[in-house]
Amino acid sequence: MKQILLAAVAALSLGVAAASAEPVKVGMITTLSGGGAGLGIDVRDGFMLAVKQSGNEDIEVIIEDDQRKPDVAVKLADKLVQAENVDVLTGLIWSNLAMAVIPSVTAQGKFYLSPNAGPSMLAGKGCHPNYFNVAWQNDNLHEAAGAFANVEGYKNSFILAPNYPAGKDALTGYKRLYKGDLAGELYTKLGQTDYAAELAQIRASGADSVYFFLPGGMGISFLKQYAGSGIDLPVVGPAFSFDQGILQAVGDAALGVRNTSQWSKDINTPVNNAFVESFQAEYGRLPSLYASQGFDTANLLLSAMSKADVKDADAFREALREADFKSTRGEFRFGPNNHPIQDIYVREVIKEGDVFTNKIIGKALNSHSDAYWSECNM
């Protein structure tokens, strides 16, 4: 069991006003092996960095690897709830795993803080008072891209995403705010790595811009092949294909591409600057979007711990709802469905020395909520 019990380093001197009498037990289920492990590792590292910095010794984190398999995630959730009797769960990266785990753990009275996935079901009809999303609702970054397309004056976008629910949500999200026409709308095979056929269609479509949602290796392949195709249209994507972890693998092909994100390492606030610096110092690499989400999740939890005892569920829930913590992304508060209300930025991929990274070039949406909150009754 990978228990990380934190030693009481300078806890006294920091003098955290710990209202919680008992230690809080946190179960983190995330992807640490197999494909997509990079995301889980970043969430974990960001989360643990915040815990370490707080010096709070009243928190015990149990970390488990879901291997990106829903049935394994369910098994681990059972274990954490039944055997470890945790108070709070967190860590899931993927929407399908989130859907498998979250409804059942919140029904069992546990708190769940999502550091990454935000399926629409859980923001709308399936919302739950014990479920807090600290990242975004799945559609958010795509909606921002649609809004950005209007600003840029795109009139005829070609949009594509993998043929699975998150892909369909993504394109729906883009179309929600986008006012122009569509030159084409394509669903690719999940896990597809060759996009020659799609690129040929884009070339022939007469589009004036391209929007894609292809997470992980799919995005790397698409961008590299897009760069080689000679198609000269502006391409926009959500931050997932441009995060710090995979940007180096895309290389020059990503340079200059605009992407939407609720966080960027150059958000110039003391909190964020300190986060970027300390993350680099601790792990020897630049933090990613996922690391920032993990970091924020832990800080949200710590803020609630300082206000209420986790055993008093109602008080603890209220403390979480207040979101009284300093987010790396600046303004952060929860909407009525416990999903973030936040600004979403447009970033551009640049090269700093030898390292590819992102720079903010503007704001796509201000204090943006999501499209589902009105369906949420709680």
Binding site: G34, Q201, R203, A204
Partner: protein, 306 residues
């Protein structure tokens, strides 16, 4: 749909097919000569891509990367053959499936342990980047064109190797009668190691070539492995010619199916439904093709008749 787009898509299908052929050729060779089902072939593909990315990253030369991919995969193949695979020849297919499945686990996690969980960078050389204009005004990426040519050259080389060289004679003999080639005084153990390394090198080459336009990451081998199996089963296991034709069939089916099926469905359904249903059927199309071929010809197109 314009003719130019159609031709471009056919080229894409062809290119995809030829990359599959590089994978499938090694797989079918190994099965033909040694009678071994090697699920770990996808791992050799991954090893090729990682070697190429590591060496190209360190030296800046794509060509050196390719050589490293060939050498790295061949060495890994020879090692695996010596340590594990040669104990499997006498076992049944079931044991082979399980043992090589175990090898996948070891290779994947081992690679992740060595290189970390993030994808590696491998880019195409500048000389091959960008599109070229083909006769008829078709713009086509130069690198993909190069892939088609390299793949066809490798195919030609393999045919020559099998039909003209001493090694080829031994390979063909090995496919027909193991005891006879032992009687001829050929060192079977050595022959098997060489064939396995050759198959591994082909997989490594494919991994490096494809890695340059896709992403070099742990687990990249498995989807390709399944496709390569589909290819050799359609073509008839053990037949290089079958692998080539099967690969091109699969490449074209996959590429063209993805384009035409949604269009076809639009004749019957609303556009959104059509796109969805069409994409669904397209993602199943090569498996439907394979099942259909096997139902009609239970040992593939060019397989030995039972």
């Amino acid at each position: 749909m314009s003719l130019i787009l159609l031709i471009e898509q056919i080229l894409n299908g062809l290119q995809f097919g030829i990359m599959l052929f590089l994978m499938a050729a090694g797989l079918t060779l190994i099965f033909g000569v040694m009678g071994l089902i090697n699920l770990a072939h996808g791992s050799l593909y991954m090893i090729g891509a990682f070697c190429a990315a590591a060496v190209a990253g360190a030296t800046g030369s794509f060509l050196l990367g390719l050589i490293a991919a060939l050498a790295g995969a061949a060495i890994a193949g020879a090692l695996v053959e010596l340590v594990v695979i040669r104990r499997l020849y006498t076992k049944d297919h079931l044991d082979q499936v399980l043992a090589t499945f175990a090898l996948i686990l070891i290779f994947s996690e081992g690679t992740r342990w060595l290189f970390g969980s993030f994808p590696l960078f491998l880019d195409i050389p500048d000389a091959l980047s960008g599109p070229v204009t083909l006769p008829g005004g078709i713009e086509y990426p130069l690198y993909r064109l190069t892939l088609i040519i390299v793949g066809l050259l490798v195919a030609a080389g393999l045919f020559l190797l099998i039909s003209r060289t001493r090694l080829g004679i031994q390979i063909r003999a090995g496919e027909n009668d193991r005891e006879m080639i032992a009687a001829l005084g050929v060192d079977i153990a050595k022959l098997y190691t060489i064939v396995f390394a050759l198959g591994a090198a082909l997989a490594g080459l494919a991994g490096a070539l494809v890695g340059a336009i896709q992403s070099v990451q742990v687990g990249m081998g498995e989807p390709v492995l399944i496709l390569a199996f589909v290819v050799i089963v359609i073509g008839g296991i053990g037949s290089i010619k079958g692998a080539l034709i099967g690969a091109i069939l699969v490449g074209l089916t996959d590429t063209l199916g993805g384009i035409f099926l949604p269009e076809l469905m639009k004749l019957f359904f609303s556009p959104a439904t059509a796109t969805s249903i069409g994409s669904s059927i397209a993602s199943m199309s090569i498996y439907i093709l394979m099942a259909a071929v096997l139902v009609l010809r239970p040992t593939g197109l060019f397989g030995a008749r039972a």
